[in-house]
């Protein structure tokens, strides 16, 4: 994909050293060590190291390569996927990983298990999942009731909604038992050995691990003996602990600290979060954002290049599209639909008949240009860019009220009252547009049922599910054109990033979904 | 040589942003061994301030000049720690109010042992943790408690202050003061808070100590009777200075100072007969005349009983506050209820006033039995409380206070008219008109009590119940109020039910008297016969205890 903002990346120095314990400070803590419960960022980052995926996705090209599955194919409708599995993979309790394991895991992920207190955690991610058939010991077929092109990426996905494979013993354990490390058994390079909620999670190397994805260029077990994830919720304390040497490495580094840390000789490992760029999606059912000119004006008033120059950190990127630069199918709109032009914004509003009122706020037919929007408190710089956009809009007569922590706003209220809703959804696949904005699915832009040409819009989105790989590119472009040029559904702000900082820790690796993978990391050097 | 001498002592109290106020102005005074010197004076005359300087217990915001000599040292202005050497051993102190002068959460025994230990430690006599010494201290403590007149010290040794009566507490305090075997005792109104009978016992005991041990005593009192009874020398203080000094005999033979004269006149114990009413310019209360009853007895109390049950810490206690009480009061006369604290005087008064319901018995007012409505009752009967400040709403002006009953009863009388009535009522109680706009909190005790009386009269009642209405006042003020009451009674033909614990006052005002003890009437007859020829032992004791009653002017 296009590489508008090369991510800062740690140089690996010298030959890998085996052994050692890594203390790793971060913001959150897994709310559970059950990898199938992965709604939190920390949860997915931790479990990424104790489980493996069917496929491995290249973080730069988005291409898939073998991991637990050596071969994969799908039918023309993209409703059936057949995976051929590696035969040498074992769970850490010694049991074999095979076709039945895949079936049992997918079934439980989709259906849950009331008796064990397991919730249907995967229901909303697996979509039109129908069943899994065990074709032979090591061949398995996953069937959907409708086309599901994005399942391929899901089988390599490590972010929210990922599919993790657990041993039978774990699958038969109750929700409560799965809070004990000894009951959480999987195939990954590490085993969870200690879990103190909100304080510490410790994972220990599996010495018989030999099925690292070939594309990663690593063979055999991980280098590190042990990784201790330490939760330090307060950003300034986290950085302080890093600086004072209390921990050698830390995650969730705030953009404001990047410069300071680099100056102090810390190596930063950073990557843009693939998926949606962070931004507002417009509510097309509400006045005045149902007026396309208003939407255009807002998009034109957002100073994306300016943000990159003055507000954002090195690791964060200017938004060029609704998709981040690395997602396969990405197209650049920064010189077109997303061009910053405050005068144009004004003109658009003037032309559309929005006249400035006595209080400086524009109005038309008694409707004032007063908007409500949600922000994002988890990404620190989102506060800043939204506030900057807010101030810019104010200067052209548009008033925006932003609720920065929208977590307790119910969905209904969100669609009924908010003109601008923050989105920031990770997934290294263009399918993310479909789940989020397709009027028949997520309908994030709240496109009303009687919207002109609705059927065509839905069709354009649905088409994404019918192709993969290169064939998908034109379809993705069509959807992005629809989003940015024809309908103006979103106002992207910037591309978010994940940053880890370390001293004396080599090769901290952020995978295709920007989750940590410690298989190739070692301590030493320097 | 004197034990204690003040030479030209002046003491000021300072307060931030205010000019220092002088509480003692150039006093000189000495106490010799075996001598009992009393300081008399009205409240605020600087008595306590002066004597506290002799034991270093002035508050931090005081400043002293002059010389206070204990033995050879000039101790004026010493710090607590420097003074510690003299306290207890050279000079003992008996505080004013026994109720609050003992630590409420320490057993009595510990409190006196503390004093003994302080002394022994100072003389390096107390090796730590020696059982024999503990025994010795305990036996010493017993000895001093006995010396202070507590015959069974073992019984109270482990008790807490609240479990003792006022007299016993005062004796404990005396024991503490004596335990250091001081040469000088300083007593600040040691008996003012006690019943007369107890007061007499305590004072007798102090007298005995002085004679037997040769201790010098400096006694403060506001009761000239007490001073005249016992002192070798009397010092009268006013506004911080000594206005007169002399022996008891000299005082009785004529005093030079005008103020001392008035004190002498006002001392109830020295009175012999009833007050003669002075004429009053009648200002007929505009609340309007209402028919006055013609019954012979204004109040008839028959077999009234009342038991109070209280819970404390989950345990129930019952007190028989009135036990089959009966008495009658003729219209237009004064009936006094006397007795020690807790005898049930207030309870009966409140039952008569309808403020408390009796368990059994009957109260007939103005010849009518049965329930009276509040409004109806308050037209004929009014109640005057002991403490005028708590019975007058501090936010009301004097004018509003005295006419509040009129406002409630006579909606037809307007604000302006009420103010006129208020002024008339103030005339009646001899309070200048300028006070009409004052708030109750800005008045002195005597003035406030006048307001309370004016208020009681505003509805032109027939009966007024006065519950210790003068007990809280200084003697000189007390005399004025008593005179006023006599005047008002004559002018308005009122019936008084007068509650007091002071037999001296009874002589001045009452036609008939009932002596109460533990809820029951011991004796009830006309004043002259009860006081002149008491039938009961208890009444005799009461009469005997009135200070100054043996003296002849």
């Amino acid at each position: 994909g296009a590489d508008g903002n090369p991510a800062v990346s740690a140089k690996s120095g010298g030959a890998p050293v085996k052994g050692g314990t890594l203390k790793f400070a971060w913001l959150g803590a897994p709310e559970s060590i059950d990898p199938q419960i992965n709604s939190s960022f920390a949860g997915a980052n931790f479990s990424n190291n104790i489980v493996d995926r069917l496929l491995f996705q290249d973080r730069d090209t988005g291409e898939f390569s073998p991991w637990l599955a050596t071969k994969w194919e799908y039918n023309d409708d993209i409703t059936e996927y057949t995976f051929t599995l590696r035969e040498d993979v074992t769970f850490s309790d010694g049991t074999k990983f095979n076709a039945t394991s895949v079936k049992n895991n997918l079934d439980q992920f989709f259906n849950g298990d009331e008796a064990l207190g397991i919730l249907p955690n995967g229901k909303s991610y697996l979509g039109p999942y129908q069943e899994t058939q065990v074709v032979s010991d090591y061949v398995v077929k996953v069937r959907f009731s409708a086309p599901n092109a994005s399942f391929l990426q899901l089988s390599a996905h490590s972010g929210t909604g990922n599919i993790s494979f657990l041993a039978d013993k774990t699958l038969k354990s109750s929700a409560e038992d799965r809070l004990k490390p000894e009951n959480v058994i999987s195939t990954g390079p590490f085993i969870v050995t200690e879990y103190v909620p909100k304080v510490r999670t410790v994972i220990t190397r599996r010495n018989d691990y030999t099925w690292a994805p070939a594309a990663l260029g690593h063979e055999g077990p991980a280098y590190l003996d042990k990784i201790e994830f330490i939760t330090i919720p307060e950003a300034s304390v986290r950085v302080g602990a890093l600086q004072s040497g209390d921990v050698p490495a830390a995650f969730d580094i705030l953009p404001t600290d990047e410069q300071v840390l680099t100056a102090q000789g810390f190596e930063l490992t950073a990557r843009i979060n693939p998926g949606f760029t962070l931004g507002w999606q417009f509510n097309l059912s509400l006045a005045p954002t149902n007026d396309i000119n208003v939407r255009r004006a807002i998009v034109a008033a957002t100073d994306r290049p300016g943000f990159k120059k003055t507000l954002l950190s090195n690791s964060e990127g200017e938004a060029h599209s609704v998709l981040t630069d690395g997602v396969p199918g990405f197209a650049d709109y920064s010189q077109g639909a997303l061009k910053y032009d405050l005068d144009l914004a004004k003109k658009l509003l003037d032309d559309a008949g929005w006249q400035p009122g006595a209080d400086g706020i524009r109005a038309k037919d008694g409707v004032k240009l007063q908007l409500k929007g949600t922000g994002n408190i988890l990404v620190p710089d989102a506060r800043v860019t939204y506030e900057a956009t807010q101030a810019a809009l104010k200067s052209i007569g548009v008033e925006v009220e932003i609720v920065f922590d929208p977590r307790n706003i119910p969905a209904e209220q969100l669609t009924a009252e908010y003109h601008l809703a923050n989105i920031n959804r990770g997934r290294n696949d263009v399918a993310v547009l479909n789940t989020q904005l397709n009027p028949d699915r997520g309908n994030g832009a709240v496109i009303p049922a009687d919207f002109p040409d609705r059927a065509r819009i839905v069709k354009t989105f649905d088409a994404l599910d019918t192709a993969t790989g290169a064939a998908q590119a034109p379809l993705a472009k069509a959807v992005q054109d629809l989003i940015h040029e024809e309908l103006v559904l979103v106002d992207p702000q910037f591309q978010t990033s994940q940053v880890a900082a370390a001293k004396g820790v080599q090769n901290i690796y952020l995978d295709g979904a920007d989750r940590l993978l410690f298989l190739t990391t070692w301590v030493g050097g320097k | 040589m004197s034990l204690l001498s003040f030479t030209d002592v002046s003491i000021w109290y300072i307060r931030r942003g205010e000019q220092p106020s002088q509480a003692v102005a150039g006093v000189s005074l000495a106490v010799a061994p075996g001598e009992l010197v009393t300081i008399v004076g009205e409240s605020g005359s600087g008595k306590s301030t002066l004597i506290r300087s002799a034991i270093g217990l002035l508050p931090a915001n005081s400043r002293i000049s002059g010389e206070v000599r204990l033995a050879d040292a000039d101790v004026a202005g010493w710090s607590h720690n420097r003074f510690a050497r003299y306290r207890g051993t050279y000079v003992g102190f008996i505080p004013q109010d026994p109720g609050v002068s003992l630590n409420p959460v320490k057993p009595i025994g510990r409190q006196i042992e503390d004093a003994l230990r302080n002394r022994l430690r100072r003389h390096r006599l107390l090796p730590f943790g020696n059982g024999a010494h503990n025994l010795r201290i305990r036996s010493d403590a017993f000895r001093f408690l006995e010396l202070a007149g507590l015959s069974a010290p073992e019984a109270i040794y482990a008790k807490y202050p609240h479990e003792l009566s006022g007299g016993m507490k005062q004796r404990v305090l005396i024991a503490i003061a004596l335990s250091g075997e001081p040469k000088l005792l300083i007593a600040d109104e040691p008996t003012s808070a006690l019943d007369v009978t107890v007061q007499k016992q305590i004072l007798d005991h102090l007298d005995l100590l002085r004679r037997e041990l040769g201790i010098g005593i400096l006694l403060v009192t506001h009761d000239l009777g007490v001073a005249l009874d016992r002192a070798d020398r009397i010092v009268v203080m006013r506004n911080g200075s000594v206005v007169e000094e002399g022996t008891s005999g000299e005082f009785l033979h004529g005093v030079r100072d005008d103020y001392t004269r008035r004190l002498l006149d006002a001392a109830p114990g020295l009175h012999t007969g009833r007050l003669t009413p002075r004429p009053i310019e009648l200002a007929r209360a505009a609340a309007g005349e209402h028919e006055r009853s013609t019954s012979e007895y204004a109040i008839e109390v028959t077999n009234v009983s009342k038991t109070f049950t209280t819970r404390r810490g989950g345990v129930e206690h019952s007190v028989k506050a009135a036990d089959d009480v009966s008495f009658k009061v003729k219209s237009g006369t004064t009936h006094a209820l006397v007795g020690e604290s807790g005898a049930g005087k207030s309870t009966i008064a409140r039952i008569v006033a309808g403020l408390t319901a009796a368990d059994s018995g009957e109260v007939r007012l103005l010849g009518q039995a049965g329930r009276w409505s509040r409004k109806r009752l308050s037209r004929s009967l009014q109640f005057v409380y002991q403490n005028p400040f708590s019975s007058l709403d501090p936010r009301f002006s004097v004018a509003d206070l005295v006419t509040e009953p009129i406002r409630v009863h006579r909606k037809d009388i307007g604000r302006r008219d009420r103010y006129e009535i208020a002024l008339e009522l103030l005339d009646g109680v001899r309070l200048p008109h300028r006070y009409a706009k004052h708030k109750a909190g800005e008045l002195s005790g005597g003035q406030a009590q006048r307001v309370a009386i004016a208020r009681a009269l505003s509805l032109n009642p027939e009966i007024v119940i006065l519950d210790e209405a003068v007990s809280a006042l200084d003697v000189s003020v007390q005399a004025e109020i008593l005179q006023l009451l006599a005047d008002l009674q004559a002018a308005y033909s009122l019936t008084y039910l007068f509650i007091t614990h002071d037999l001296g006052v009874v002589k001045l005002l009452a036609d008939t008297v009932s002596v109460l003890r533990a809820g029951s009437v011991v004796e009830s007859a006309d004043t002259a016969s009860v006081l002149g020829n008491p039938q009961e032992e208890y009444t005799k004791l009461l009469i005997d205890s009135v200070p100054g009653s043996h003296l002849k002017v």
Partner: protein
């Protein structure tokens, strides 16, 4: 005995009241707890069927009164449901967090009491009015200091600048020092104010004069006479102080990366984890009434004035 039963009854009523109030408050919350499991912008894309099933699994789909009765009955058996976020039983989640907070709060309480007591003692002992005023102005300062800033400043100075203590209180006593101090300081403010006032009133009582007149030195007067009388009434504030400690832990534990009730509270409130929040409210309410109950029942034992009066002796 009756008295203890009466107090116990009141305590139970308060606990029940807290349960009901928290149920009403939490039930009235705008969003369904299930929705809150998902990020706001993903909520629209939740499969309605899956949503229903999850709602059913947690029992949020039944009528309010039924949920109330069920929860109340369950609560009586010590079951407050399971956390919506983690699926862990509430009792267990709280049980795991509690020891940390108890240790922290206990240390903070000891520090706060000692600190408050020293201020009150010294302010009463000093003869110089100037010094006395100076010391007396410390408690108001403590009360007025924004506690959320205090922790950050403390950690910056003592951990990062001076390096005396580790910033994360993982292991050992050394890690406990800073958080305990940060929690103790705001809590000690009100205690110090109360003690200071009590010391002054008690010191002005006449029995102090009696003690002086025995020849006792000032320090001893304060220790043997004033101290106990002045500090006992502070016990009646016990329930409120314990509450303050727990509330203070919300911020302290976040800043010092300690897992405990405070962190659990903040997380749960943010994530609107209804069962956990209710569990915590109940925990706090129970702590409050227990402490108050103990104080109420034991106060008569330490204050002889409240002991059963066995007929006053009369002279």
């Amino acid at each position: 005995m009756n008295y203890a039963l009466l107090k116990l009854g009141r305590a139970l009523i308060v606990v029940w009241g807290a349960f009901t109030a928290s149920f009403i408050l939490l039930y009235l919350m705008p969003a369904s707890p299930i929705e809150l499991l998902f990020p706001p912008n993903e909520r629209a894309s939740i499969d309605p069927q899956a949503f229903k099933e999850m709602e059913h699994a947690y029992g949020f789909d039944r009528p309010a009164w039924q949920q109330y009765v069920d929860r109340l009955l369950a609560a009586l058996h010590g079951d407050f449901g399971t956390s919506v976020g983690t699926g862990q039983p509430v009792i267990k989640a709280i049980g795991e967090a509690l020891p940390n907070t108890v240790i922290l709060a206990a240390c903070a309480l000891v520090l706060a009491s000692l600190f408050a007591l020293s201020i009150a003692w010294v302010a009463t002992y000093l003869e110089s009015a100037r010094l006395r005023n100076l010391i007396s102005s410390v408690p108001p300062l403590l009360v007025s200091f924004p506690s959320f800033l205090l922790g950050l400043i403390i950690i910056k100075v003592f951990s990062f600048q001076l390096g005396w203590f580790p910033p994360i209180s993982g292991e050992g006593l050394r890690g406990l020092v800073l958080p305990a101090v940060a929690l103790a300081i705001p809590v000690s403010g009100p205690i110090a104010q109360l003690l200071l006032r009590n010391f002054q009133t008690e010191y002005a009582s006449p029995y102090v004069l009696t003690s002086y007149s025995k020849g006792t030195r000032k320090g001893k007067v304060l220790n043997t006479e004033v101290l106990r009388n002045a500090s006992l009434p502070a016990l009646t504030q016990g329930g409120i102080i314990v509450g303050e400690l727990l509330a203070g832990a919300v911020i302290t534990e976040t800043i010092f990366s300690r897992a405990g009730i405070g962190r659990l509270t903040e997380d749960a409130v943010r994530a609107q984890d209804v069962p956990i929040v209710q569990g915590i409210v109940m925990l706090v309410a129970v702590c409050f009434v227990t402490v108050n109950f103990i104080v109420d029942v034991s106060y008569p034992l330490v204050d002889p004035r409240l002991k059963a009066v066995s007929k006053g002796v009369t002279a």
